[in-house]
């Protein structure tokens, strides 16, 4: 499993493109939105939590089809499916690798980009906390969507259509945590629910994704 994780990470770093694309997208969005909205601090600060979360979500979405598609093309997914480790573990590891190359860097650069968006200062710690807790769910749900569409030749559009409604709860709770943090309100409930979604997704979705892959490889 460790070997698989390292292999996926190495592939992501060396093949270029896919890895940086999400980050670049996130960066562009955070620069372009203030230009489009205008410099008035009040408006920008109020929409900043939502913009940052939507940006992180879309950046995740960009690289989803790479989770399984490349392995499916060159046949290594078949090998992984017949490997001695369970397919559920393969899915979990691949989702983890996806999170390490998208979710984690997004979380790290988010506070820097929040400066552009005039996020009120109370929101910064909660922005990082909510992204750390929420982006694993995005990767895991995305891995499930990628597993459903892995057999299709052009599954990209379908993948976004399938995954988008599944992302809704994560987005709502994530944005809500940052918004409440920025306004200095109590945020225990949405934070707990956000963590619950991530943990639940990590616990259950590998099984759904693995069964989808088994069907697709049949």
């Amino acid at each position: 499993m460790k070997a698989l994780l390292l292999r996926d990470l190495r592939l992501a770093f060396r093949s270029g493109g896919g890895f940086g694309l999400g980050l670049a997208f996130f960066f562009l969005l955070s620069v372009l939105v203030p230009l489009g909205v205008g410099p008035e601090g009040g408006t920008l600060g109020r929409i900043a939590p939502g913009i940052l979360w939507v940006g992180a979500l879309l950046a995740c979405l960009l690289s989803l089809d790479r989770i399984f598609a490349l392995d499916h093309e060159d046949g290594s997914l078949d090998l992984l499916a017949t490997a001695p480790i369970p397919l559920e573990a393969v899915v979990a590891v691949k989702a983890l690798a996806h999170w390490l190359v998208t979710g984690l860097p997004l979380t790290l650069i988010a506070p820097g980009l929040a400066v552009f968006l005039n996020l009120p200062s109370g929101g910064y710690p909660w922005l990082v906390v909510s992204l750390v807790l929420g982006t694993p769910a995005l990767s895991m749900i995305g891995a499930f969507g990628a597993a459903l569409t892995v057999g299709l030749r052009r599954g990209g559009l379908l993948l976004s259509l399938l995954v988008l409604p599944l992302y809704v709860p994560t987005l709502i709770f994530g944005g809500e945590v940052v918004r409440r943090g920025a306004e200095g309100m109590a945020l225990g409930t949405p934070l707990a629910l956000l963590a619950a979604i991530s943990l639940g997704a990590a616990a259950l979705l590998p099984f759904a994704a693995a069964s989808a892959i088994r069907v697709n490889l049949r």
């Binding site: 459903l148 569409t149 379908l158 259509l161 709770f173 979604i197 759904a208 989808a212 697709n216």
Partner: protein, 242 residues
Amino acid sequence: MSIWEYANPKKFMQTSAWALPWAVGLTVILLVVGLVWGFFFTPDDYKQGSTVKIIYLHVPAAMMAINAWIMMLVTSLIWIVRRHHVSALAAKAAAPVGLTFTLIALVTGALWGQPMWGTWWAWDPRLTSFLILTLFYFGYMALWAAIEDPDTAADLTSILCLVGSVFALLSRYAVNFWNQGLHQGASLSMDKQENVSDVFWLPLVVCIAGFILLFVTMVLVRTRTEIRARRLKALLARERVA
């Protein structure tokens, strides 16, 4: 005699052929009675005027939009557990019907909301969760359409339906967080003291019964079509081999 006998396509076709005329007839009678009664023989509401009458389309459609998804969930489970093809085809057949009900609920709601709330659309919890439900229906149907092999498609859409149901529930709960509900609470229930008055209630119940039967009828028709399409494909394949 068990319910699984109907999982046999032949038995299903026989039974549904017998049941279909009755279902169609009852649907027409109930819908005509309910809608005509509701539209022309009930008084206007003292606050809402005649716009209140959209309830006879809106409420039954919204109920069936959710129930259609629940029915798809049940048939998907049956397909996963017992692998009865009729079950998978019934789920496939129900999706467009459910989507149509969802859209009817959204459109009638918007038409009613314009004069009453002063807006076509509000990001109210109920409205938002219906929008998300629409997305789920679209995704489900797109997945069916995208996969060529029918068994693979049935398997994958069933998995999507199971996972989607959990997330649909989650979203329903999540949107409650905004708690800026414009939408009024339920005006119908078995145990509440304050229901809408009988004048509106009785035709509404008839309409709901009509919509349930309408759903059953359309799912029966569409499932029969799917089964015939499947048989036709098998015949063509056999002819090509021979």
